[in-house]
């Protein structure tokens, strides 16, 4: 009788431990979603413009940084030329501007806007200062 009891206890404990062991294989669930960083690179011709569309899913700040303008003929050579930098909404094949300013390349965001969920665009354009085409790079950080 004692042997039966000991056996029953061992079986129950083994089953319980086995169920417990199953939880070790659970991997952590990541629920945090941080800001999204986008890179918009391209070439801007004299009198030209370019834009990049992006989607905001949560209300929050969007930071737009004209980070780099460089000569196409000598890669790596930075330029201080002032370009137009704008935020807007995509309309057909263009970007309708809602907020803009003149900007030269820098490593702090020149445009910071609070955006509601929706689709937006960042636009770079020549405001009459370009004498030749340039390469540009724009960083967009949004929620």
């Amino acid at each position: 009788m004692k042997l039966m009891k000991a056996l029953a206890l061992a079986v129950v404990l083994a089953a319980a431990m086995s169920a417990c062991g199953g939880s070790d294989t659970t991997s952590p669930t990541t629920t945090t979603s941080g800001p999204e960083t986008l890179l918009f690179e391209g070439q801007l011709t004299v009198g030209g413009s370019a834009f990049y569309s992006f989607t905001v899913t949560t209300e929050g700040l969007a930071n737009v940084m004209l980070a780099s303008v460089s000569a196409t003929t000598s890669p790596g050579t930075s330029s201080t030329v002032v370009l137009g930098l704008a935020l807007g909404t995509p309309t057909g094949t263009d970007c309708t501007i809602t907020n803009s300013l003149p900007a030269s390349a820098g490593l702090t965001s020149q445009l910071v806007n609070d955006l509601q969920p929706g689709t937006y665009c960042a636009r770079v354009y020549d405001i009459g200062n370009l004498k030749t085409a340039v390469n540009f790079s724009v960083r967009i950080v949004h929620t």
Binding site: K5, L13, A67, S68, T77, S78, A105, T108
Partner: protein, 140 residues
């Protein structure tokens, strides 16, 4: 006797459940937090090449780039700071200049929290043997 058996089983299960419960909810994911500091690196530049290093600023402030040494000595090189480009290892330069090695930062730029890059590049002065460079980046 049966009562004793049931009591034993109940206690065993309760203890097991407590032990199980203790192992689950205390683990949290580890996230590397960027911190301010100075990063140093060395590299060799081939003709037409560059040595680029990414760094992460933890807050707004000034980043300072110093081309400390070159071998051969006094080689005039390009020095720049910018943001990492689409292509791996590429740096979209914001500010660049031509400089020789020295102990004082040749290049500074205001930055905000985020990832940036700095690097040294050939401006037509690097011979076939290349140039060994050492550089530091101090950032917030």
């Amino acid at each position: 006797m049966n009562r004793l058996l049931h009591l034993s089983l109940f206690c065993a299960l309760a203890l097991t459940a407590v032990a199980c419960g203790g192992s689950t909810s205390t683990t949290s994911p580890t996230t590397a937090t960027p911190t301010a500091g100075t990063e140093a690196f060395t590299g060799t530049i081939a003709p037409g090449g560059a040595a680029i290093r990414n760094f992460t600023a933890s807050a707004s402030g000034t980043a300072s780039v110093t081309l400390l040494t070159t071998d051969p000595n006094s080689t005039l090189l390009g020095l720049g700071i910018g943001i990492p480009g689409t292509d791996s290892g590429n740096c979209d330069m914001t500010k660049t200049l031509q400089t020789r090695a020295g102990s004082t930062a040749q290049l500074t730029a205001s930055v905000e929290a985020g990832t940036y890059c700095a690097g040294v590049f050939d401006i037509g002065t690097v011979g076939t043997n290349g140039v060994v460079v050492s550089m530091t980046v101090a950032h917030p």
